[in-house]
């Protein structure tokens, strides 16, 4: 394992220039679109606005990053099954929101998602794969539904949807990348601390959701 890590790190350093160049190219290709990120007359106007939507709320960001971290902590096949399940089920929830199907307690479920996923990472919970997939799936429905009902009307939501899904997937990838520190003893502790931070964020959002509903 140590040998593999060393070789992988050497390879990464050797090719870091290519990686950087690719990111620079991607940045400059996407950059001109960001000027159109605002919603124009209530319409969904494209990739940039869709891409920015999932990263506009901290509750969503925490939950999606936590899914990746938990997946990385659980290891294969959960590491890729959970991030595969989440976007698909979230999009299903988004579709339900878009076509007007009402679901109760969405805000509570979203707040609970950060709490539960953060707690799972903090406790290094290791349920069976199907149980983890169901937990993630239920939260994904809630997040997707909230996004779906918030989405503005537009003639075509294709580019918006593409941006939305890519941003969600990249948040999971970020979570997986962070979760890879699990391989080292110190990283394992750091990851559990990160899970605790996510869970605390969940408590805050849960308190906000409950006080909001009570008011």
């Amino acid at each position: 394992m140590k040998c593999f890590q060393t070789r992988a790190m050497k390879n990464f350093i050797r090719h870091a220039g290519a990686v950087r160049r690719s990111f620079v190219v991607v940045f400059f290709l996407l950059y001109p679109l960001t000027v159109f990120a605002h919603k124009r007359g209530g319409e969904a106007i494209g990739f940039a606005s869709g891409f920015l939507h999932p990263i506009s709320g901290l509750d969503h960001i925490l939950a999606m990053v936590a899914v990746g971290m938990w997946g990385a902590q659980l290891g294969a096949p959960a590491m890729w099954v959970l991030p595969v399940v989440f976007p698909m089920v979230m999009a299903l929830g988004g579709m339900m929101g878009l076509i007007g199907i009402k679901l109760p307690g969405i805000e509570l479920c979203i707040a609970l998602s950060a709490l539960a996923l953060g707690f799972a990472v903090c406790r290094e919970a290791r349920p069976k794969l199907w149980v983890a997939a169901i937990i993630v799936g239920v939260f994904a429905i809630a997040h997707g539904h909230a996004h779906g009902t918030e989405l503005p009307l537009g003639a075509s939501g294709v580019l918006y949807s593409i941006g939305f899904v890519i941003a969600t997937g990249l948040l999971h990838a970020l979570g997986i990348t962070i979760g890879l520190i699990h391989r080292w003893p110190a990283g394992r502790i750091a990851l559990r601390v990160a899970g605790a931070v996510v869970a605390m964020g969940g408590v805050f959002f849960l308190w906000k959701a409950i006080s909001g509903e009570a008011a």
Binding site: A18, W80, G94, G100, G148, L159, Y160, S161, V165, I166
Partner: protein, 205 residues
């Protein structure tokens, strides 16, 4: 080997985001200024509704192996051209956004699940996809015009290039996690398709 795969992924990621980030266009609106062939050539890469199922099918065929990729490489453009020719005969433009989206979702599911389909089934899927999208494209082109047929040929050429590159890359995958990444791309296509379906079925107000 591992870094070669990483570089290839970064290349395709860059290309995909470039294409996806491009503004949406339709066959009758696309005007590159370089003539109808270039208009058709560009059409595929700036129309996500057409491009997404093609990506899913090409990657799926590539994952199954070079023989599958080669079969789709010829079946899809030929079927698309035949469909475009048939679409040109239609009196008015045809738009089937829900069916189009369901086809995209189905192909995304097949890619994400990496099901071992027989080659005949993959070729049938390529022919059906080509005919369906070809008819939709062809029906939107100006009738009884040589430039429409040249434009359709441009779309066919773009398909040939797209399928050869995507299926070729997928067929050359030897590392497990890269294969998983391609399957994740399939799940993203499904997610995009589901959201598109929501948009298509959304009732304004």
């Amino acid at each position: 080997m591992r870094m070669r795969q990483l570089r290839l992924i970064l290349f395709w990621l860059t290309l995909a985001i470039t294409l996806i980030a491009a503004p949406s266009a339709h066959a009758h609106l696309m005007n590159t200024g370089f003539g109808p062939f270039s208009d058709g050539l560009t059409h595929l890469f700036v129309t996500p509704e057409d491009l997404l199922p093609v990506i899913a099918l090409a990657l799926m065929a590539g994952l199954r192996g070079p023989r599958f990729g080669r079969a789709v490489l010829f079946a899809l453009p030929v079927a698309w051209l035949a469909g475009s020719t048939a679409g040109l005969l239609l009196a008015s433009p045809v738009a089937l956004p829900v069916t189009e989206t369901i086809v995209t979702i189905a192909l995304g599911v097949l890619l994400a699940t990496d099901r071992p389909l027989p080659r005949a089934a993959v070729v049938c899927l390529a022919i059906l996809l080509g005919l369906f999208h070809g008819i939709l494209n062809g029906s939107e082109l100006p009738k009884q015009s040589l430039s429409s047929q040249i434009s359709a040929a441009g779309v066919g050429a773009a398909l040939f290039v797209a399928v050869s590159l995507l299926a070729g890359q997928a067929a050359s995958i030897r590392v497990l996690w890269v294969r998983v990444a391609v399957r994740v791309a399939g799940s993203w296509i499904v997610a995009i398709g589901l959201l598109m379906l929501g948009w298509a079925m959304r009732i304004p107000g």
